[in-house]
Symmetry: C4
Subunit: 239 residues, 4 copies
Amino acid sequence: MLEALKKEVYDANMQLPKLDLVTFTWGNVSGIDREKGLFVIKPSGVDYDQLTPADMVVVNLKGEVVEGKLNPSSDTPTHTVLYNAFPDIGGIVHTHSPWAVSFASAEMDIPNLNTTAADTFYGDIPVSEALTKAQIETAYEDETGNAIVKTFADRGIDHNAVPAVLVAQHGPFAWGATPAKAVYNAKVMEVVAEIDYHALTLSHRDSHVPQYLLDKHYYRKHGKNAYYGQNNPKSNAHK
Amino acid sequence: MLEALKKEVYDANMQLPKLDLVTFTWGNVSGIDREKGLFVIKPSGVDYDQLTPADMVVVNLKGEVVEGKLNPSSDTPTHTVLYNAFPDIGGIVHTHSPWAVSFASAEMDIPNLNTTAADTFYGDIPVSEALTKAQIETAYEDETGNAIVKTFADRGIDHNAVPAVLVAQHGPFAWGATPAKAVYNAKVMEVVAEIDYHALTLSHRDSHVPQYLLDKHYYRKHGKNAYYGQNNPKSNAHK
Amino acid sequence: MLEALKKEVYDANMQLPKLDLVTFTWGNVSGIDREKGLFVIKPSGVDYDQLTPADMVVVNLKGEVVEGKLNPSSDTPTHTVLYNAFPDIGGIVHTHSPWAVSFASAEMDIPNLNTTAADTFYGDIPVSEALTKAQIETAYEDETGNAIVKTFADRGIDHNAVPAVLVAQHGPFAWGATPAKAVYNAKVMEVVAEIDYHALTLSHRDSHVPQYLLDKHYYRKHGKNAYYGQNNPKSNAHK
Amino acid sequence: MLEALKKEVYDANMQLPKLDLVTFTWGNVSGIDREKGLFVIKPSGVDYDQLTPADMVVVNLKGEVVEGKLNPSSDTPTHTVLYNAFPDIGGIVHTHSPWAVSFASAEMDIPNLNTTAADTFYGDIPVSEALTKAQIETAYEDETGNAIVKTFADRGIDHNAVPAVLVAQHGPFAWGATPAKAVYNAKVMEVVAEIDYHALTLSHRDSHVPQYLLDKHYYRKHGKNAYYGQNNPKSNAHK
């Protein structure tokens, strides 16, 4: 069942240790088959060096396990909420990568201070509000998803333009068109958090990129006028 | 004598360089056979790449060497005190991992600011009081153990719920049900110290997790209602 | 066409991940054949582990692709401006190395505080002024090159004596007599930025090297009285 | 000539990249045969992966090359001064390791804040005064050695008890009974500088170890009552 997607999700999970985004088993990637309405996710608490594509668990959009011998990631309800709320995303990743968790602990957005951020994120990476006692004690992982969705709605942020978030006191989630792109976005977030920490503690001032630089860099890589890389609409290779 | 335990303790010691927790020989792991009242510990000052399971030294709960050609870790008396005071622990580790030593040098607790900490530690990781001149000059390594035990008693901290400590001006000790779990806890402490340093210097405010988030994350992984991973009471895999 | 130069530029590009200067595809090196007036540059957005010398793209000094199946780096116009403005350089590199980007985000020069800097850079590594809205919206990559050239002209800096720059809000460019020397200079800039960050946040004071120490270290390695290494005019090996 | 010493010095040099103490060729180790009054040193500016034992250069205590096809390290006069001034040392190392250079740039001692420092250094690692214009312009490398010697004399520091120094605005030198021990001391200095930076920026207060803790840890590893390791006078292995 969904063997190609399982392999794709497995490969994306295996990128996490390679990209220095996880310690022990603290991360998970999922990917969705939108036609079937099923997603595939890493099992909970399994070491990366023991993981196989066949270990991946298949879950429906109600968050119910459809296939798999292992317990799915404990964050599965969060993934379920996000797939339902963001109908155009194809993959989701959650990690405890340390620079992002530092910003989440400080309850600070990761600000967009440079073209490294602007190339991938069309604005700051927002931090959610902290979950309330009631939210945490009832359906914690669902409410984590709801807090993310609310953050984007309340602040009017397009989740495709800023495909990442920090959950306050917790850590980062990222998503993308595919599981691999979600992992890419998670790595960019981590690198940007590291750069921003040093920039902020050097300058102690607001050094956000201006809107026109954000536009320039973001749209060099995204949308109908993109010209970075080999496969974008206006790249020379396609003239 | 205790060959299986020697192998287990050896394996746990070999995790220290792999997890970037030691420089040179600055770390040691021990593990105990509670029925026999004997523990096994790394020899003092031996390079990790020359270590073998047979080099492990067997010590009784008075701190006396029972078997072994090599000198046991100079921290053996500290391990002895801890095994006697904490009768339910199975393994102990001491390192000079740099982020933890930075907090120990600053004589600051490693605060519980995020779910990465809360998943493993049910509260802040305490720093002991500095040892007095008399303590240091009489039985230094015993008094180090006593200072740890006193810290948990004075502050009313459950050593199973917070299985790690900083000795002021010195560095971290961690423990657990097994030598491998002690090493796991030592690594989590180091990662949390790194994250906390950056969070504290970003926000310069108290950003402790609230009690209900601490409860939620700690008990997701511990106790009779744990549901993280494949082997916990309420994990789906066991339904 | 230019096969030896393609190999040289390929090799210099492959140094970038080895020296920890790039994440993903975020870097590019070029090298020029001054007699032919043609330069060779990395294609845009190609993974380093899939790159081959044959993928390198040949470009003329108007910035036009002369040979190559792939789209050249999107930064090609910046390289073109620099080769035209600095007629004695043989290679250029651009990366998003994190310490340098932190200084670029803070819009701070990387100051010359120690002999590690003075050995390679005869003064501070300047940060350009931020590009204006008009510059960004018309010919962004050309204007990036123009901003670099203007920085050196306005501040009277010799681009051979300080072979590196930060573009404000963006990141580092470096150059040299060859592609390999450009990459060397880019790595030194990154190391110096890391050292300077910690020195500045430790001392919070101006600790520039004095002119006579700058002279001593720079001219130990450069010019007709250089005596460092095996191939300099006054090295013992050549007596 | 001195083939065994050349191999020993070569091996010690090759530890520098392995211990992350050097970038490119920025480091050198020497070792001395006191009976012959000759020392062996790395050639100047040679890549570590191209170095062989036969490349080592033999120098006498006037700093003159006695054997070797290659130019010796440009820091050879500094080594010469130190071997003459400190007649009991057997090896010297100089690097540009980044944490140590940060303290040298800030012209701050590396303070003794914890047992990691106290195990190896019996006090703070001092920073020299900055060299004067006249010193730099006449015999720079000799004067670097003289500044080190003067620092220990003026401040009454025993160079065997604190076998390392920072030269202001420049970087670290370390020494020891053998080339390997010099490299060991250089690595400890770098680790201590890293730990201290974070401790100082966390606590912003003086957190020096008290004298009695310094005594305890230093003499656990040094002198006639040492009991750490397998070969010390009072280690259990020798009972």
